[in-house]
C-alpha cells in the first residue's frame, strides 16, 4: 500500500508551499486565529442546519415500517379480488363452468392467504382482533380490514359450496351458500381489489398521497391483469373474455407508465430514480407494453401459437403486478427519506 505523498514526510518544498506557510503565519498574527480554507479539519465544512439544508438533511418523515408481507398482500389481495369479480360475472353471464370454478378457487386461496399475510405483518399478531372492535370510515386501514373480512368469508363460502356440490351433488342449502358467497365476494371483491391504493394514498408520504387519485385505478388494473394471468395459466387460454380483460388492463398499465414518465414533479422522483425507479420501470414494462404486445400478436396467430403467447403474457403480467406493488412500497421509503419534499426546499439547480 502506498502512502500518499503529503502524509509520508517526503514532500519536496517549493515556492508555493512556502508562500502558503507565510500566509498562515500572517493570518494567525493578525487575527489570533485561522479562518482560511486549508485549516478545516477532516470532514469539513461542518454540517449546518439552515433553510437550504433543513435540519442537517435528516428526514422529517418516518419511513414505512411494514414488512415484506405488505406488498405481497397487495398483490394477492388485488388478484383475488379481481378473480372473485370475474368469477361472479362469468357465473351470471353463463360462461364456462370451469372458468367460474377456477376463478373461485383463486379468490378462495387469496381469501386465506391475505389475512395470513396481513396478520403476520402486525407487530402484535395475536392482537389482530383489536382491528375488529371498531369500524372507522375515516381510516382506510379499518375499511380495508372489514372489506377483507367480508371478502374472505364470501369467497371461502362460495368455494366451499362449489367443492361440496361437485362432490356430493347440488342441494338447496349448498346452492344458497354458493350464491350468497358469490354475491358477497363480488360486492367486497370490487373494493378489495383496489383499496390498497387508497390505503397508501391516504398517508403523509408525498409520492403516495400525490398519486392518490390514480393509485386505486392503477392497482385495480394490476390486480385484474394478475387474475387474468392466473386463470390463463390454469388453462383458460381460449377465453375471449379473459383476453379482452387482459388487454384492457395492459393498456391501462401502459398508460399509467407513460403518465409517470411523462410528468416531471419532484414527488414523482422515487418512481423514476434509484432502486425504486428501476423497480417501477421493470414492473411497468412487465405489466403494460410486454403483455399488450404479446396479446396483440396472439390475436392474429393460430390457435397453438396464440395459446403459447398468452401463456407468456400471463406470466409477464403476474410478475409485473407483483413487482409493481413492491416498487410502490420502495418508492414510499425513498419518498420518506427525501427531507426536501415536506420542508418544501427545492433541489439546488445543477449547472
Amino acid at each position: 500500500m502506498s502512502i500518499p505523498e503529503f502524509m509520508s514526510g517526503t514532500r519536496v518544498p517549493d515556492a508555493e508551499s512556502e508562500r502558503r506557510l507565510v500566509e498562515i503565519r500572517r493570518e494567525a498574527e493578525r487575527r489570533g486565529e485561522l479562518r482560511v480554507v486549508g485549516v478545516r479539519p477532516a470532514g469539513a465544512p461542518f454540517p449546518q442546519a439552515s433553510p437550504e439544508t433543513g435540519y442537517y438533511g435528516i428526514p422529517l418523515l418516518k419511513e414505512p415500517q411494514w414488512t415484506h408481507e405488505i406488498p405481497l398482500y397487495f398483490f394477492v389481495g388485488g388478484a383475488a379480488g379481481a378473480a372473485a369479480v370475474m368469477g361472479a360475472i362469468a357465473h351470471y353471464t353463463g360462461a364456462d363452468r370451469r372458468l367460474v370454478r377456477d376463478a373461485r378457487w383463486i379468490a378462495a386461496a387469496g381469501a386465506i392467504i391475505s389475512p395470513a399475510l396481513l396478520i403476520s405483518d402486525l407487530g402484535r399478531p395475536e392482537r389482530f382482533l383489536a382491528m375488529l372492535r371498531v369500524f372507522k370510515p375515516q381510516s382506510p386501514m379499518s375499511v380495508g380490514v372489514w372489506t377483507l373480512m367480508g371478502f374472505s368469508g364470501g369467497a371461502a363460502a362460495a368455494a366451499f359450496a362449489e367443492f361440496m356440490q361437485n362432490r356430493y351433488g347440488p342441494t338447496l342449502p349448498l346452492r344458497i351458500i354458493e350464491n350468497a358467497g358469490a354475491a358477497a365476494s363480488l360486492a367486497f371483491g370490487l373494493p378489495f381489489s383496489n383499496y390498497t391504493g387508497v390505503l397508501i394514498g391516504v398517508s403523509a408520504i408525498p409520492v403516495w398521497n400525490q398519486n392518490v387519485g390514480d393509485l386505486p385505478i392503477h392497482f385495480a388494473a394490476s390486480g385484474t391483469s394478475a387474475a387474468v394471468g392466473l386463470l390463463e395459466l390454469m388453462g383458460h387460454r381460449d377465453s375471449h373474455a379473459l383476453q379482452a380483460l387482459g388487454l384492457g388492463a395492459a393498456i391501462f398499465e401502459l398508460w399509467e407508465g407513460l403518465r409517470i414518465e411523462g410528468r416531471s414533479h419532484s414527488h414523482l422522483d422515487p418512481l423514476k430514480h434509484g432502486r425504486s425507479g428501476w423497480l417501477t420501470r421493470a414492473g411497468g414494462a412487465l405489466s403494460g407494453p410486454l403483455p399488450f404486445a404479446l396479446r396483440a400478436i396472439s390475436a392474429f396467430s393460430g390457435r397453438k401459437r396464440c395459446s403459447r403467447l398468452r401463456k407468456w403474457a400471463a406470466m409477464s403480467a403476474i410478475a409485473g403486478s407483483l413487482i409493481t406493488r413492491i416498487a410502490w412500497i420502495h418508492a414510499g421509503h425513498a419518498s420518506a427519506r427525501n427531507w426536501r419534499e415536506p420542508l418544501e426546499i427545492p433541489e439546488p439547480r445543477s449547472s
Binding site: G43, P51, Y55, R124, R133, M141, S203, A220, A244, L343
Partner: protein
C-alpha cells in the same frame, strides 16, 4: 376537562437535555445507544419510539447581527421537539383499532394495551413522530404524560426543564403567552423570532407549539403539514371508478364472449 398544551421556547433552551432524561426516567424508556450523530450535539436526530422528547441543536454559519449575535459566533439554537398533539391528528384518524384516542386533556394518546402494531399511524403522521418499537412490535410516542396530568401534575419534561423553556398550561392561555413572548423578543431586537403553530393547514393547529428563531425549516418543522385524511375523498372516488371499470369491463367482456354458451361443464 380543559385542553392543555406545551409551549417550547427555543430562545430559553440551553440544550441540557434534562427533558429527554426526565421523559425517559418517568416513562421507563430504553436508551438510544451512545452514538454521536456528528450533527452538533444531537445524538438521535429525531423523536422516535424511545425518544419522546428530542433536543435539536441548530448550528448555523456565523451570521453577523443574527438576533444580536456577535459576528464571529456561530448561531447556535436549541429546541426541544416533541409530539405536536395535532388538533386534527393523522395518527388518530388512521388507527384501525381505536388504540389512539384523544384524552380529556386534548392530547393524542396511544393505548398500549390495544395497539396491535399495524404501523399505519407511522405513515399517517405529517411530523414523523410515531415509530414502531421493533422489539415490542407496537407504536410509541409522547403520551403528554397522561398519567401525570390525570393526577394534576405537569408532564415530566416541563417539570424538569431548568429554564422554563418548556412551559405547560392551558391551550388558550399558552397561545396568548407565546404571542406575547414573540412580541417581547421582537421588541428586544430579535426580529427573527416566530411562533410555529400551523393553524392555517388541515392540521388546524398543534397542542405543542414552538417559539423559534429563524426559518422553522432549519428545525425540521414543515411549513405545510397536512392531515392525510384530506386525500381520502379523492382516493375513494378513484376506488369507486376503479370498481366500476372492473365491473363494467368484466360484464362487457363476458357478455361479448361468443363461445360462452358452448362450454358448460356438466354438473
Amino acid at each position: 376537562m380543559s385542553t392543555t398544551a406545551f409551549l417550547t421556547d427555543s430562545t430559553l433552551c440551553i440544550g441540557c437535555k434534562a427533558c429527554e432524561v426526565a421523559c425517559k426516567e418517568w416513562n421507563g424508556l430504553s436508551e438510544d445507544g451512545f452514538d454521536w450523530s456528528g450533527y452538533s450535539y444531537d445524538n438521535t436526530g429525531a423523536v422516535g419510539a424511545s425518544t419522546w422528547r428530542h433536543v435539536k441543536f441548530v448550528e448555523q454559519a456565523p451570521e453577523p447581527g443574527f438576533g444580536g449575535n456577535a459576528a464571529e459566533l456561530n448561531s447556535w439554537n436549541f429546541s426541544s421537539d416533541v409530539c405536536k398533539h395535532c388538533a386534527e391528528a393523522g395518527c388518530l384518524e388512521a388507527c384501525p383499532t381505536g388504540a389512539i384516542v384523544r384524552t380529556e386533556f386534548g392530547g393524542v394518546f396511544i393505548q398500549p394495551d390495544v395497539c396491535n402494531g399495524c404501523a399505519y399511524c407511522i405513515v399517517a403522521c405529517p411530523f414523523g413522530v410515531v415509530q414502531k418499537n421493533r422489539k415490542d412490535g407496537r407504536a410509541f410516542k409522547c403520551t403528554f404524560c397522561y398519567d401525570r396530568q390525570k393526577v394534576g401534575l405537569q408532564p415530566a419534561c416541563a417539570q424538569a426543564c431548568p429554564t422554563e423553556s418548556i412551559k405547560f398550561g392551558q391551550l388558550d392561555e399558552l397561545r396568548q403567552r407565546a404571542e406575547d413572548r414573540v412580541r417581547e423578543l421582537h421588541g428586544r431586537g430579535m426580529k427573527d423570532v416566530r411562533l410555529y403553530n400551523p393553524l392555517d393547514t388541515s392540521v388546524k393547529g398543534i397542542h405543542a407549539f414552538f417559539v423559534v428563531r429563524g426559518d422553522p425549516r432549519s428545525y425540521n418543522l414543515p411549513p405545510r403539514p397536512e392531515v392525510p385524511t384530506i386525500y381520502a375523498k379523492k382516493g375513494w372516488q378513484a376506488s369507486a371508478i376503479a370498481a366500476g371499470m372492473l365491473l363494467g369491463g368484466s360484464i362487457l367482456a363476458f357478455l361479448s364472449d361468443g363461445n360462452r354458451k358452448h362450454r358448460r361443464l356438466p354438473r
